[in-house]
Symmetry: C2
Subunit: 253 residues, 2 copies
């Protein structure tokens, strides 16, 4: 799959005793959305392969077709160097608890150092058993509304996978630049628009009260200035003004 050629290698997602094939398919889709392809199932209740999983995976076949199944969590984690366990509720266990964002930063660092990482997720309703959590180096808990923390399994996987994708993509800007064929209006084009409109409004009488004119002109210029117009848009607006002037002329005559 070409995905692996440009994305940094990501963590394995390990679902322990998942119950519904539908959820496994949604997990596969969420993983591929974030460029992850290594899905492992421990003792899935309804077996594997699953037609329901294929149906909800939205063609995430790069994940579904390479999914591996294990009988025990211990077998699924043998090649993992650093393991995170995702839990919603606090455990009576002395172990680091971090946010998905913090975990993602650590996952990217560990992968750079050639460490193989994995993320454990538990059953839909009950989450991970303590016997599984204890195998992990660190616990991941998603900060959520404390009165409603029950996260859908695919949402939990998406959350951590999404944070991983953002963390490994160091170059991603928070704002996308404009396409190259779009050009902001130059000041000359803007001034051309301002003067065109003001001339038309002088003619129409809108600006005839002399002492109010400077303030009204500033108000109008500021509206266009704030609109971050493109060169094409200034031309469109000048066409609008011309059209209105022509219409006014014909209706008056």
């Amino acid at each position: 799959m070409a995905t692996d050629t440009f994305l940094k290698p990501g963590p394995a997602i390990i679902l322990v005793e998942p119950q519904l094939g539908e959820n496994i398919g949604m997990v596969a889709r969420a993983m591929l959305n974030c460029g992850l392809t290594d899905l492992r199932l421990v003792n899935p209740r309804d077996g594997w392969p699953s037609a329901e999983a294929v149906a909800t995976s939205a063609n995430a076949s790069a994940v579904i077709e390479n999914t591996r199944v294990y009988q025990k969590t211990e077998h699924a984690i043998r090649d993992i160097d650093t393991l995170y366990a995702t839990t919603a509720r606090p455990r009576d266990m002395v172990k680091r608890v971090v946010t998905p964002r913090q975990a993602a930063t650590e996952l990217v660092e560990q992968t750079k150092a050639s460490g193989r990482c994995g993320l454990l997720f538990g059953r839909e309703a009950k989450g991970l058993k303590n016997d599984d959590v204890v195998l992990a180096d660190t616990i991941v808990t998603v900060p959520l509304n404390p009165e409603f923390t029950s996260l859908n399994l695919a949402q939990a996987v998406f959350c951590v996978a999404y944070e991983w994708f953002q963390a490994q993509d160091e170059t991603s800007p928070s704002e996308t630049p404009l396409p190259k064929n779009i050009h902001p209006a130059s000041k000359q084009e803007l001034l051309g628009l301002f003067e065109h409109l003001e001339g038309a409004l002088d003619d129409s009488g809108f600006l005839q009260i002399k002492e109010k004119r400077p303030n009204m002109v500033r108000t109008l210029r500021n509206i266009w200035q704030r609109a971050n117009l493109t060169d094409q848009e200034t031309r469109t607006l000048r066409g609008v003004i011309k059209s209105l002037v022509r219409y006014r002329g014909s209706s008056k005559n």
Copy 2:
């Protein structure tokens, strides 16, 4: 709902022409996970209320019971001051495009300034129509694997809602502190453990090669040091040592 008493007021989630009740229910669940309760539907295909939505909402009744339905997008956004449109694919439109993280920062700022904010989401398969996108101030696009950007509707809502929750919760640490009833072992307790083990290993003969002893002692001490033991755990380990010594003694006699 008590949620509103401690969370900052959040943006409205506006689903335009959603098709499946199941997806609306999953959106409601994802919203309440992140403390959002203002759900609006524009022309839902299968009508409203929806038994399917209730079934998949996992008891997010604070959202489901207050959902409002509108015939047109324009009607649903009347009280909104700042509107974001979520799209996966680029539009032929001159409009700011930001990440969910950047949008979340802006949403928190605008809410502080008493602005009412909304987020538009389109139909499951096709997303928003350009006639809806044009109503928005800013476009939000989730950075994803460019080869597989088709995000489930509830995942898209969760993503933006999750980022909003993280942004409004300025005090959330990236790592959760240990519970108050857990105490790291004092140096005195650690040294007690070290000396207890080393004494037992002197007796057993494990440390009998004199020139190797200092290095082996350092190795063992470093293991325990690195484990960040609690006071209770040092006592457990001293019990383990005692038990092993007793067993060895009895099996030899």
